[in-house]
Amino acid sequence: MSDAGAPIQHSAVQAGAPWLRGDGPDSDVVISSRVRLARNLAGFAFLQRAKPVERQGVFAACRDHLTSVGLAKQVIWAEVHRLPQIDRTLLMERHLLSKEHSKGGAASGVDWPRGLCVSAPDERLSIMVNEEDHLRVQVLRSGLALTDAWQQIDAVDDLIEAGLEYAYSARFGYLTACPTNVGCALRMSVMLHLPGLRMTGELDRVRRATKELGLAVRGYYGENSDASGDFFQISNQVTLGKSEETIRRELEKQILPQVLEYERASRRLLLEKRRRATEDDIFRALGLLRSARLLAPEEAMAQLSLVRMGVLMGVVQGLTEQAVTQLFLLVQPSHLQRYLGKEMDQQRRREARADLVRERLGGI
């Protein structure tokens, strides 16, 4: 227990994240589905107000219960506050750790014990301990799988509650540090890949319609990231007064079918009406990735997005969608360094990123 350990093994880095496998339902458009619950323990102040001894108490109680109650066949426990920075960034890139949880209070000189519990090797389940709320439970799935994800997290929630008493009120539901999360304290989100809509200029319309339905739209990196590229995260905002089932249905049935259909229609339209120009865009992207000697992460993502669409359209032969999608993760700074087994500065990373992408995509 004292060893903070390396929660993600080299082999896992090479294999990419399971939720990026691209084998889930509707994975041509939906990269992944995510469900997150916020929970606090009865009898302890919320994190921000908790004294050091309380934080330690929450940490220990959660560690003991989460690692013994059988949440998954195997779970890995990591002491986040003791992990090297590169491992924390790696976990963030894998969407298992939030930025706040990674940072803690080290900058202000008052850090506190923070835990992360991850199911292995599938990484579908992850639980942050001593984040803004005592527990932030998350289930990630490849493709559109909100129902499956909810069923898993619902069962996990019951198991956690079997040993740890939650702060709950009949009127307000699960009590959270931030009143915007109170109620069922559930955030459901899907990560969408929408290059077709961007290329046909329909993206803003979809974004507007999504917001009209009271949903949040974010970028690839979540919370504070800009939804400007080809990747969008759509999630519910309201957590009070709606059941989990209602939240899921509103997301899965009211907005996603339309977005999926629009994106597919856009891709068909591009092939039917603008085939040459579309192929040009895709093959230029592929040419760039196969030839570049220096690559920044944003540029890599933008070009990989086009190539992924090209593979899915059948325009690009000889590459699998999975090989391309895996690169979304491997081009991120910490993954790149872990994959190559050494720490590098930004310039060296741009070189290494270009080399890796050329190697993976059969470059010159």
Partner: protein
């Protein structure tokens, strides 16, 4: 009627409003609020971040020294960063939180989802019957939808969505000006309209599934 609130591992009892009382008696459907309302939480969130939460005009004037008896957080401290200190803060600031919650959650005032097993169990034991609050996960919902009249449906959806935007705006104004009766009426209208929106989306209105 008394509400149960788990604080410090101790069940704290307190007086219940009529609606909670109905819920507690097993009228899950009546008080569930599961239909939800469509409002604009983005707008609400934006408003919350623009004017800090505390400047929310719906917030009753808090006594200067209003503080949580359990953790000591003052309401003024809460206003600065929007985070509560402990479970008891929800009780201590209940009057002040009402408007803030309504803003952030489309006018909702009550929880309508999962109930922790041990709370449900103690309620079952007290009432001697099955508690109907747990959300059933009927995976049976058909995943494929008929796509034929999609264009017409999209048009209708857009129309309803536009009306909803206006209604929600009025709802926000009603809450802001503390016209709570009007707000309740508007909330019902929003809810009806949302049902309509669902009907257009699905072709038929599906009842909430409750186990």
């Amino acid at each position: 009627m008394h509400d149960i609130m788990v604080v410090d591992g101790v069940r704290v009892e307190r007086h219940l409003c009529e609606r909670c009382a109905i819920r507690e008696m097993g009228g899950g459907g009546a008080g569930g609020g599961g239909g939800g309302t469509i409002a604009d939480p983005l707008k609400a969130a934006a408003e919350m971040s623009q004017q800090t939460v505390g400047m929310d005009p719906t917030t009753p004037e808090a006594p200067r020294a209003l503080a949580c008896g359990k953790c000591g957080l003052t309401f003024n401290e809460f206003k600065t960063d929007g985070k509560l200190g402990c479970a008891s803060c929800y009780e201590a600031f209940v009057a002040q939180l009402g408007g803030i919650l309504m803003r952030a959650h489309e006018g909702a005032t009550h929880h309508a989802g999962k109930v922790p097993r041990r709370v449900a169990a103690s309620r079952d034991a007290g009432a001697g019957r099955f508690a109907g609050h747990r959300v059933s996960q009927s995976a049976a919902e058909a995943s494929s939808q008929e796509r034929s009249d999609e264009d017409e449906r999209m048009r209708q959806r857009a129309e309803i969505a536009a009306r909803l935007v206006t209604l929600r705006k009025h709802l926000g104004e009603a809450v802001t000006s503390e016209q709570y009766e009007r707000a309740a009426r508007l909330r019902d209208e929003v809810r009806d309209l949302e049902r309509e929106l669902r009907a257009v989306s699905f072709g038929v209105e599906r009842p909430e599934t409750q186990a």
